[in-house]
Amino acid sequence: MSAPDLPHAPAARQRPPLRPNLVIGGAIVLFLFSVALLSLVWTPLPPTKMQIVMKLKAPLEKGLFGTDHLGRDIASMLMAGAWNSLSIAVSAVLLGAAAGTALGVTAAARRGLFEAISMRANDVIFAFPPVLSAMMLGALLGTGRGTAIIAIAVFMVPVFARITAGAAAQVWARDYVLAAMSAGKGRALITVEHVLPNIANQIIVQVAIQLGLAILTEAGLSFLGLGMAPPAPTWGRMLADSQTYLGTAPWLALMPGLAIALTVFGFNMLGDGLRDLLDPREKGRS
């Protein structure tokens, strides 16, 4: 069935109804970003303030989510952690997406040797399991926010490069690109005017999904002690610190774990919702 799904008359395109996953995902992500931003100006207690005498208090006994082994308020740490985790994830994904997309669209536009070499280079980068490359980067650059961002961005590059190269190649096969070429437009211009706008949807969807992955990776890095420097709280380090208290103070592990899960869940839902919203292929089907 080729034609029948398409409108036959200049009918205004109907806005598809908001899908539950878009609403849920959007709400979660919005909530998290608000919390993260709020943490910059307000947290119930300073997230780094220690009250050793108040250590390891259960949720609601002291603060909303209790206190950690140094008597810090977990709720406040989670809030500040939201900012740290999100800011790392967002910068890393944006960086990776920008570099990967640039590589991908260039490969699609140039084809030939450039494509072969850049895609092979992708394979090379992709061959390093992310934690391994993060470990090496950490050893190389020292740990911290910058390293975490770079380490995550590095393995995002091939992901985005592959996706955009594939999507861009499809756009390049379109007649409107031929039309632009016959209008004497160069490959760079066509990439900017036609290719990028037409693959933007796929990139946006992928960004949402990769953000979830980046949060997970950041947590893993922090868990291994390769994340941001203390005292800045991150969810991954909170998890790592909580390990030995699992038996005695399980909320220490539960809270950051749930925060991570909620965030990744939110981003994935958002990604799904965006895909439904933006990808016309899914729409015709039911």
Binding site: G225, T244, T248
Partner: protein
């Protein structure tokens, strides 16, 4: 599993795993913790109280000028592979450790030795270039153990010594197995074990689980103080908190401003409430120290009151030193758990007196050795010093503190020259007082030895004058 007859096997948990099994060619403490006194023995040994006791040398004489040591070696001792232990082997061991292509991590121990002579098979004579009152004690260290001339090249993977246990196997990353040595020379020793397994478990949670489930019988050095409480109500498990020589100190770069100003260092010391640091970083286990010396060292005096916790005074002192608004600096913290935890607490405490400390995690040993130890490119760091009675490091030049105090050096020299023990103890006290007052490093606490083991297991060391798992006297008791 509970058997009627007393158990004769032991699974002993450790972290980290040793890197090779030859303590004479690599520094990691874990090597000695597996092999020293179990597989390898020295001319002399250090016992559980820290005393020097005869071992492969049954006795010795030191010439009055202190330059000639004559060791009378035990007879009838053989290595596990049958090589005889005699003066040749002893000479071989010492020469191997001090030779030009030696890779002994403590080669300096043997620097004072001029010649090694073997007048007969059971006599070993060391001629020294200079006096050295530490030599005898050093000969008791893991780096000075006796190795077989024929077997030493393979000691890294298949160690052959003269000790009560023989090496059986090593599953890298997991375990080392030893078995009792039936031909052990010391017939006075009645071994309680015939099979010993060292298991290497890094994660504290896994350590605890292994202990509780009985997969591991003992963790003489448990790594997570916060989990100690969880063993308290388990009658099957004994927790024994002992002493170590591990002094947690936050060393400062005394050559760098503002740490070059003694008042600044003192102010920082006064800003630190050691009790809180111990409570926060190590669950209250551990003992506060005021200088680079532990209560189990001879001549120890309590110097924690010299710059007691007093933030107001600290602030005043800072102002006097020209920093009324505090200052900022960076601490390079290795990843061992005590370091970042202590650093986080210090950070909060310094903030109280207006000093901003940034924490820079620094990978240990690779990057830490490079940055802090080799190139002294740091403001402050925090690390546990493991060597017993290592007051001399403050007199070393270069050493990463960049601390220079001729008065202090003079005291240490005097100790070297003195033979009277009481006099030495007094001098040790003096040295401690100088350090406590000068604060070349912030003295925080001594790490406890967190022994956790099956309540029926007896004979493990409670304290740790030297890092070791000596199994000679370990046995099960019903």
């Amino acid at each position: 599993s509970a058997l009627a007859a007393p158990k004769t096997s032991l699974v002993l948990g450790m972290n980290p795993e040793p890197q090779g099994l030859d303590p004479t060619i690599a520094a990691p403490v874990a090597i000695g913790q597996v092999t020293w006194q179990n597989i390898f023995e020295g001319l002399v040994a250090i016992d559980r109280t820290g005393k020097i006791v005869p071992q492969l040398a049954k006795s010795w004489e030191i010439s009055p000028d202190g330059l000639t040591y004559t060791f009378h070696l035990r007879e009838g001792v053989t290595f596990h592979d049958g090589q005889p232990f005699n003066s040749e082997a002893a000479k071989f061991s010492l020469d191997r450790a001090r030779g030009t292509d030696s890779v002994n991590p403590q080669k300096r121990f043997f620097a004072a030795i001029d010649t090694v002579e073997t007048p007969d098979a059971n006599t070993l004579v060391l001629k020294l270039k200079t006096r050295n009152s530490s030599l005898l004690s050093w000969l008791g260290w893991p780096a000075s153990v006796m190795v077989g001339p024929k077997s030493s090249v393979n000691d890294k993977t298949t160690p052959i010594g003269t000790g009560p246990f023989k090496f059986v196997s090593w599953a890298k990353g997991d375990r080392v197995e030893l078995a009792a040595n039936p031909a052990y020379w010391n017939k006075d020793v009645k071994l309680g074990l015939d099979k010993v397994t060292f298991r290497f478990i890094g994660d504290p949670q896994a350590q605890a689980a292994a202990l509780k489930s009985g997969d591991v019988d003992a963790f003489p050095e448990f790594t997570a103080p916060e989990l100690i409480a969880s063993f308290k109500d388990d009658p099957k498990i004994a927790t024994v908190i002992g002493n170590t020589e591990l002094k947690v100190v936050a060393g400062m770069n005394n050559a760098r401003k503002p740490f070059s100003d003694k008042r600044v260092r003192q102010a920082l010391m006064m800003a630190v409430d050691r009790a809180t640091v111990i409570e926060g970083a190590w669950s209250g286990l551990g003992q506060a120290i005021g200088s680079h010396y532990t209560p189990n060292d001879r001549g120890y005096i309590d110097t924690t009151g010299v710059h007691a916790y007093d933030p107001a005074k600290a602030k005043a002192l800072l102002a006097e030193a020209g920093y009324p608004n505090g200052f900022s600096f960076t601490i390079k913290t290795p990843q061992m758990p005590y370091a970042p935890r202590s650093a986080e607490i210090l950070q909060a405490m310094f903030a109280e007196i207006g000093v901003t400390m940034t924490i820079e995690p620094t990978e240990f040993p690779a990057k830490w050795v490079q940055d802090v130890f080799k190139s002294t490119d740091y403001d402050m760091t925090i690390v546990a010093h493991a060597e017993p009675m290592d007051l001399d490091i403050y007199a070393r030049d270069p050493y990463y503190f960049n601390y220079k105090n001729p008065a202090y050096n003079a005291v240490l020299d005097k100790i070297e020259q003195t033979t009277d023990a009481a006099e030495q103890d007094k001098l040790y006290g003096e040295a401690q007082t100088i350090l406590a007052d000068d604060v070349p490093a912030l003295y925080l606490f001594v790490l406890p030895k967190l022994g956790v083991w099956n309540a029926k297991l007896k004979g493990l060391w409670e304290n740790e004058p030297i890092p070791a798992n000596v199994l000679t006297e370990v046995h099960w008791e019903e």
